[in-house]
Symmetry: C2
Subunit: 250 residues, 2 copies
Amino acid sequence: MHRFFISPDCINNTNNTAIIDKEQSKHIDKVLRIKKGEKILCFDGLGKEYIVKLIDKTNGCFIGEIINAEISNNDPKLDLRLIQGIAKGEKMDTIIQKAVEIGVSSFYPVITDYTVVKLDESKAQNRIQRWQSIAIEACKQSRRSVVPPINRVIKLYDLLHDIKSENIIMLYENEKTISLNDILKNNKNKYKEKPLYILIGPEGGFSEKETKMALEQGAVLAGLGKRILRTETAAIVALGATMYEFGELD
Amino acid sequence: MHRFFISPDCINNTNNTAIIDKEQSKHIDKVLRIKKGEKILCFDGLGKEYIVKLIDKTNGCFIGEIINAEISNNDPKLDLRLIQGIAKGEKMDTIIQKAVEIGVSSFYPVITDYTVVKLDESKAQNRIQRWQSIAIEACKQSRRSVVPPINRVIKLYDLLHDIKSENIIMLYENEKTISLNDILKNNKNKYKEKPLYILIGPEGGFSEKETKMALEQGAVLAGLGKRILRTETAAIVALGATMYEFGELD
């Protein structure tokens, strides 16, 4: 069954109906050729999944009757968050799409010392909207029901200062002794209880000042082995391996 | 130090010299502006790494003196191979690039029942050349010294028949009971000794006939959890998790 996103404010719990937005209604109508009377699967982005029967169409929007509502269990229990140094070109799109499929719970795009991409306030706003749409699409496709928020673009220094967490794993290519494997196995119980942050640098990696500050804030450095992974590969592999370690791919 | 690929037949072990091909020589000269007398890092694709001092240039090709040769240890011990149902557009390029970074030892692009891409003999030849170049580039960047061969395009049925291996893990989205985690943990010693094949379907997944035949040939089916991963995400995550499990990311 096809899967659509319905924002929670388009769900009327009193009369059990839901409004599907114009763009998706158009897709339902013109591309998928689904007709009134047929059922679709919807999710609200907050963890609920609905079976909705299309009953009407007004102003280009389908109105649906909610046949069934239930808490979806496709989202992971582990609260895994990705802090990603903004990478060039379409790499960020790829990282967000894959990170959502793998199961991250939120996403922090950060400006680091070696970030090349220049984003002013308005460009950053547009980019976040774009990334949020990609996250919604990835939820649709991967059957997740919780849409991970994309946080505003800030400097890594400020973010580290703001979150004050000890559960930050900074993937660092010069870390040759301690691996992600070591860290996850040694801290499993600790990481289960609170949000776990994976921090990945942009193409140029991290500056010495950044690793120093991260360490001061309680982060741990971890390597990913002998081969040098591109930033997007490192993000996908580190998130995938973490989910694997925590049984979230079982 | 920049890293270049030298085909083994361009290495002269008698007089300790190496010829760098025209394209890379041009890159060395015009883009990187490396001059005669400077040193570069080279690898032969078969596992050896060389420090080469540029001593001359003839017909657009740099000639280098081999200062040092050693067996590189950046390639994994695990002989992990990817059998990938040919996916649409640029996805195959992405999969090959990432698979090489992660450490696969060879790559089998296969036509499955749900493969959409049509490749005649000459198109398939071109595609393999293109994929092989991507593999070489990924080796350069990730510091691997063994270039994984891209095998010729054949049907999955024929490949399964040819390789006759019991070490095939078929990632199958309808497998809800047995996970990749279960299979890797239960077969660790067996998988260390012989080549291990990871089999990933194209966008549409596998047909019933394909899973049946794979099972008959000794393959095992494994799931990757509750979220549906795109074919390229499934490939990267499955390879990454396998390398993680075998300590190849340590």
